[in-house]
Structure formats: C-alpha cells, structure tokens
C-alpha cells in the first residue's frame, strides 16, 4: 500500500524519509488544498461583498434575507463530510505509525536532562542512534527524570518519553529512495581525548530533537540518527563495539564501568551503594556470609562478576545481575578494579577517580 504511493513531499515539509512519510504528506497536501480553497472562498467573498455592497448612504438599510435553513445545513454538512474524511485518513496513517511490525529490530533510548543514550542489541551504547535501512526499527523510550520527546522531522513521527512508563516509536527508512549506500569501509578517527570516532560515509544523517520542554538546555538536547545499509550498519557496529582495541585494559574497564552500569551500585570513592565500593576492594579481605574471610584477588573478582552473588559478602543483598560480558571485558574490569586499590599494581591516575564515580 505504502509502496504504491510514490515519495510525495508535503508542501513546506522536509524530505519524506520514513516509509509512512509519504502517506502523511499526501494527507498534508490534501488538507492544504482544502484549506487554501476555503480561505480563498471566505476572503474572496468578503472582498467581493465589500466591493459590491459598500454603503452609499448613511441611511441605507437593506432588508435582505436573514435566515435560510437549507443553506445552513448545506454549509454544515459539507465541512462535516470533509473533516470526517480527513479524520479517517489521519487515523489510518496514525495506526501504521503506532503499531511496530513484529519483526522490528529493537533499540533502547534512555534520556535525562539533557542527553540521549542509545543501547544497541549487542549491549553497546552511544549518544547517537545508528540503525540499518530497509528494516523496521523500534526504539523503546525511557526517561530518568522529566518528560522528553523523540522527534525526527524527516521521519514525520514523534513520541513523548515519559518517566515511569515505556513508550515506543518505530520507523523504517528504505535505502534506495534515500540514497543510503555503503562504500565498503568504516573510517576510524582518533579524537584528541583518545576516544575513537567511526564513520560510515554512505550513511544518511538526520537531526533528532527533544520536542517536549525539559528545562535549561532543552534546545540543545539534540542528537543524530544515522541510517546505514545493513552491511554498513554491521560494519559500523562491529567497529564501534570493538572500541577496546588498542586501549589499555584499565581504560577499557573504566569505560565498561559506566557503560555496563556498574556505577549505579559500586562507587569509586568508598561510599556505600547496593554493592561494595571498588575503592580498596582489590587485595583486601572480605567477610563472607559463609563465615569465611577471603582476600579479593583476581579469581575472587572474576567469580563475583561471572557468577553474581555466589560468594555473598556480608552486609549486601544478592541483587547483582548477570551481565553479558566477553572474556576480554571481564579482564578489563578486573584491571580497572585493581587500579582503584592501593594494593593494586596500577598508579591511580584515571580520571574516574577525580570525578568520584
């Protein structure tokens, strides 16, 4: 159905990029034609009447018709039929926007004042959204504080991000009509702070706005959505997820610490969280619920990560989730935990320490 409608751009609208954009733009154009017609009709009549029926004498008192039920019903029923048609058309278009196809690829958008964080199916996270073309994409929307909204004008869709509930938005962008291609390579660039940027030059990029007022920097809460070909997406995700390559394990672990959410329970400054602080954890004895005491060495930490709650440190509830970690991730995290202890081999120079957590 949507394919039948060629990519029609609405009058005064941005490029129609998503698969449902054309249907919206068709309706947009229809409503515009209706509006222009009625505006012209009203203003034309008004102008003509002013020209034709200007008062010539102060005492002119025309006694024309002042009631006509047929006319009243006519000009009530005609607009009624038109708006009903617009309602049905609008609702149909809305339903296709509101119902994500079952085979959608799912992403997660987490927002707070004033940032976006996107989680990919493999657990990788960035502040920009990269998705493949030609495939329905569903984004689960989550807010940590106030209401935000996910809005990409070219996609013609918008959804509020309401704290305390999960709203969803979906879209599909086809590669061919939008010129999305893959030139076979992801360009890697090292930024001044040592982190890396991965660029797929065949991808298309669209501005993503926060559309619900959220305070001071609401107008700066913008990000980009990149549409890649499936191939380009795979290549980009592989490269970007493989950001550890070439980084020392401590730095990788430091990044994983926030990326995997360890920071929500384990502090770096010794303060108490849901789990033990990582400050001076390594190399120090831990009291276990079994009554034993064990020194937290590499093997101890490894078991604590891979089999959460299996050892049971006194004073903490068994609430740690099992994470989806690669072998190298575990090693990197251990290296980072070691760096946070005065019994560890690494000098304590990581910026994470300066910032607390």
């Amino acid at each position: 159905m949507l394919i039948v409608l060629a990519q029609t751009r609405g009058i005064g609208m941005p490029e129609p990029v998503s698969t449902f954009a054309s249907e919206v733009d068709w309706l947009w154009n229809f409503v515009t034609i209706v509006s222009v017609f009625f505006t012209a009709l009203n203003l034309g009549l008004m102008a003509y009447f002013v020209y034709r029926y200007r008062q010539k004498d102060r005492n002119d008192l025309p006694h024309g018709q002042h009631h006509n039920t047929t006319l009243e019903i006519t000009w009530s029923v005609i607009p009624l039929i038109i708006v009903l048609a617009i309602f049905v058309w609008g609702f149909r278009g809305y339903l296709s926007m509101a119902t994500p196809p079952a085979n959608s690829l799912e992403f997660m958008a987490t927002t707070w004042k004033w940032a976006w964080e996107f989680t990919y199916p493999n657990g990788f996270k960035t502040n920009e959204l990269h998705v493949p073309a030609d495939k329905p994409i569903q984004v689960v929307l989550e807010s940590r504080d106030v209401i935000h909204a996910f809005y990409v004008p070219e996609f013609r869709t918008k959804r509020d991000i309401v704290p305390g509930r999960y709203n969803k938005i979906w879209f599909q962008v086809d590669s061919e009509p939008n010129g999305v291609a893959f030139n076979g390579a992801i360009e890697t660039e090292t930024l001044p702070d040592g982190s890396k940027k991965y660029t797929d030059h065949g991808a298309k990029k669209y501005r993503l706005y926060c559309a619900e007022y959220c305070g001071t920097n609401h107008s700066k809460m913008q990000a980009y959505v990149y549409i890649h070909t499936q191939e380009g997406y795979n290549a980009w995700l592989a490269a970007a997820s493989n950001w550890q390559e070439g980084l020392p394990p401590v730095q990788v672990g430091q990044k994983l610490y926030s990326l995997k959410g360890c920071n929500t329970c384990h502090s770096l400054d010794g303060s108490r969280g849901n789990g033990p602080s990582w400050k001076n954890l390594f190399g120090y004895p831990q009291m276990l619920k079994s009554g034993d005491s064990k020194v937290a060495d590499e093997a101890f930490i490894r078991q604590a990560i891979l089999e959460p709650n299996s050892q049971g440190i006194v004073g903490y509830q068994p609430v740690m989730p099992k994470l989806n970690l690669k072998e190298s991730d575990v090693s990197a995290l251990i290296a980072f935990i070691k760096s946070q202890s005065d019994k560890g081999p690494y000098p304590q120079t990581s910026p994470a320490l300066k910032n607390g957590r």
Binding site: F20, V34, V83, G90, F91, M97, R156, D160
Partner: protein, 611 residues
Amino acid sequence: MHAHEVWESQYMSATPQSIPTDIFGKPVNPQKGDSYLTHDRGILSWLLTLDHKRIGLMYMVVILASFLLGGIFAIVLRTMLAMPGANQANHASYTDEQLAQISVNNDFYNQAFTLHGAVMVFMFIIPAIPAILGNFVLPMMLGAKDVAFPKLNLLSYYCWVGGGLFFVWVLGKGILNTIFPGMVEFWGSGGLDTGWTFYTPYSTSTGTAATAAVAGVFILGFSSILTGVNFIATIHTLRPKDMGWFQMPLFVWGLYATAIMQVLATPVLAITLMLLLAERMLGIGIFDPALGGDPVLFQHFFWFYSHPAVYIMIVPAMGIISEIMSVFSRKRIFGYAFIACSSVCIAIIAFIVWGHHMFTSGQSDLLNAIFSFLTMSVAIPSAIKIFNWLATMYKGAIVLETPMLYAMGFIWLFTIGGLTGVYLAALSIDMHVHDTYFIVAHFHYVMVGSMMFGLLAGMSYWWPKMFGKMYHEGWSKVAAILIFAGFNLTFFIQFIAGSLGMPRRYATYPPEFAIYHHISTLGSYILATGLFIVLGVWIHSLVRGRPAPANPWGANSLEWHTKSPPLHANFEKTPLATDPYDFDDWRWDENVGGYVMNENTHHEEKTAQTK
C-alpha cells in the same frame, strides 16, 4: 461620482456639534449631563465602586497593563530569537565557560517565554473580553442597572488584582535574578521556567518558584469563576420582561457560553493546582513517577481546564464579531439561531476534546482516535459562524469603520487558525507537527489573533459609549492595518518553520531556521508599532476627542439607547426589550455626527405594541 467618492463626501464633510445629545439628537440638559464617570469623585469612589461600568474600566487598566507586560516579553523573545548570538547550534565547540554563559541565557529565555505565555493567557486572553467589555456592556444590553451581584463583581476584581500582582511579582523576580544575580539576596529567589502549562514532573522538580506561581494562578482562577457566576445569574434574572433567550444580542450568548465554561472548568484547574501543591510541598505522589504518580494524569487534568479556556478566550470575541458584522452591514444578522446555538455547541464540545493535547504522550490509540474525531467536530460550529457572518455581509450596506476592519481581520485570522486546527486534529499529521512552531502559529492565530482582534473590534465599537468621546478614525484604521499585516507576518511564517520541524520552546536552533525567525521578528515589530498607535489613538481620544453621540453606529441593542457616556444608573427609565438587529428606527443626523431615533417612533411604545 464613484461609489467611494459619494461615501467620502458623506462621511468626511460631517461637522457634528460638540454638544452631548440624547438618543433623539436633542442636546442634553446640563443639569442632567451627569454620567457614570462624573457621578462620584475621588479615588475611593473608583476603588470601592459597585458600578459595573467603573469595574469594567478598572479591569481595562490592569488587563491592558498585563498585555503590555506580556507584549514586552514577546518582543524580548522575538529579539533573542533573531540575534545570531542566540543561535548556538554548534554547542559542541563551546568551552565550559561559554556553556555556562549560554546556560544563563537559556534560563533567561525559558523564564521569559514562561512569563510571556502565562501572563498573556491567565491575565490577558482569558479575562480581557468578559471582564472589560462583558462587565461594561452586558447589564446595559439587558437594560439593567448593574450585574446581578455587584459586590461579587468587585470581589472578583480584587481577586484578580491580588492574584495578578502576586503572580507577576514571583515571575518578575526570577527574570530580574537571571540578569542581576546579586538581587537574590535582596528579595529571594523566584521565577518560573515551566511554561504556562506546568507539566509534571518538570514543574515538581524545577528550582524555580512553581509553588508560589501556582498559588497566584489559583487566586486568578477565582476571579474568573466569580465573574462567570455573576454573568450567568445576570443573564438569567435581569433580562427585560419581553426579552426571551432568542431575542438576546449574540454577544450576550457568547458571554453566557463563556460563563458556563468558566464556572465548570476553572475549578478543575484549581483542584489540579492544589494537587500539584500537595505533591511539591507534602511529597504526596500524584503526578511524579518517582513518588508513584503519573505525569500524564496531570496533562489530562490540566487540559480539561485549559482546553475549554481556549474557547473562553474566543467565544466572547465571536459574540462581538456577530454584533459588528450586523451593525456595519446595516442588515439583520444572518442565521441568528444558528450562531447562538453554535456558541453553546462550542462550549459543550470544548469539554470533550482535551485529549488532543496528548496525542504523542502514549495514551491509547483508541483514545487518540476518539479525541481526533471529537476535535474535528469543532470545525462545524466554527464554519457555521464564519459562513453566517459572510451571509450577513451579502447584500448589506457595508461600512468600513475601524470596528468592521477588525471584525473582517478576525474572520481572516480565525479562518486560518481554524483550518490549521484541522491539520492538528488529523492524527498522522499531528505526530509530525505536535510541539513544533506549527502549534505555536496555530494557537497564536486562534487565541491571540482572533481574540485580540475581537477585543480591538469591541473596544473601538464601544469606546464612544464607554468614554463619551470619538477617536481619530484615520489613525485608527492605519493601526488596524499595521496590526493585521504585522500579525500575519509574525505568525504565518511560523507555520512553515514548524512544518519543517522547528520545535517549540527552543532558546537556540539549527541555522537552517534562522530566516524564518528573522521574518517573524520583523513582523512582531510591525505588530507592536500598530498596537502603540492604538494606544496613542485612545489617549488622543480621551484628551481631545469630540463628544460621542449616543449612537454613532446606528446599532439597536439597548446599550445604545442611552447617552454616551451612560448615566450612573445606565438608563433614565428602564427600557423595554428591542430587537437588537432591527435598525429601522434610527436615521443619520449630520449635526449630531451619529444616528438619532426617529421622534415619531417612541421605541418603548413601539416595542410594547409589537409584542
């Protein structure tokens, strides 16, 4: 001679007498020259007055002052949006220090747009027509001496002044604090940066003085409720003996529909604001998800009031346009019953469309469909009104005086505002333009353009009656044309910015939107110029205007059946009902510069005979 030359020779050559006359064109006996303006003297005779006309004028002063304040901030916002420095799209390239500076600017912007919106909505758009013109004209249209509860009327005025001053004080402090940070120690923190909508959980978590601001709106709301109660009672009980419901002037119908909405909807706002206070001050979880509440519930409550409020703004303006269309076409209003019923119809529909403000909030598809359908239905009574006004002009004898210019401007703006409402009611289109400048343009067309044009039409129509002075017609027309041009330039361009995706409430924006903002800002300056000319025309009229005749326009509703300005008790004798749209008894009198009643038809007798 061409038609317009005939017209000009008739109009411009008039050299009317400068002596006040009664409705028959006879000079008024100086002993009987007393009017409500001169009846009592001294400041207390104004501040403690129970006279609906004086209360109307006192409302005029404070409401126009609010309009000036809100307008100044409109110009501040438009100027900020036009300045290149406000455009910080490439914020990644800013240093921390610059970002801190920008952040201050953004806070200023956010507080400024909140002040603009909140002052305009709560203190200008909602009260203006009922409180100024309704108070002044309604009892006279009914041939009554005053409203049903004059003391309640004064109480509602002081609720307004108290709530309004407190509200402006709270919001103004915050604005001044962002400019002069040192002042916080002097008068404490304040301000409001939630937008006029107070959406939770932002409003429950913001550091600005949302609690105090909400209290101010709460008090303002009582003023609105009291006025509504008063008008309902007045219309029910104080109509002249032979004025049935369908003999009332259409402005009275408009005020009646408005009053019903004020009385039924405003308490919901009051309750919502109380719940918000309970959450902010006592930590009871109602709207904040962190406390187990639901933020979308707030939006339902808020719009259950605020959507009817939109019609509280426009329905009385429609009543004014109905009066003016008939009087200045010199012809009976077309489709009286349809216009009257469409006002009531709009008042009813107003209560069942609030959900269209939450189309993107994640409410269920079924709810969205129902609200979309119901919202579409608003188009019908709106279309009925517009077509009936046009039919009134058809084969009339159209007089292009200032009130008529504003009334025709109203039809233009309301047509555009109403039709863009159809875009927004269509669900799939709304998903795109929701919370963009398209919405901003739409509600400025309906709420501001239409309501402001209705107010200006009504002010210029009843001005001679209110102050007993005519105003300079030429400058007044210049102002009307400038306001019209400026308004369209300011806001039409915003439809395009919005459809291209410019989100609302943005202090900064991507560079591709700059051109639209520049044009819009230029328009706002023209609009402001026009409004200042209106102010000048009014002041000039008060100081040097020629005395107004009792009936300068040849209208026949009862307020024109007494001299200008009216007596303290409005009429010398309690008048009998007349047909407000039958102008046969009035003829133009060159010497008076207005219409005088035919001496051989004594209107009371005539009315008595025909009944």
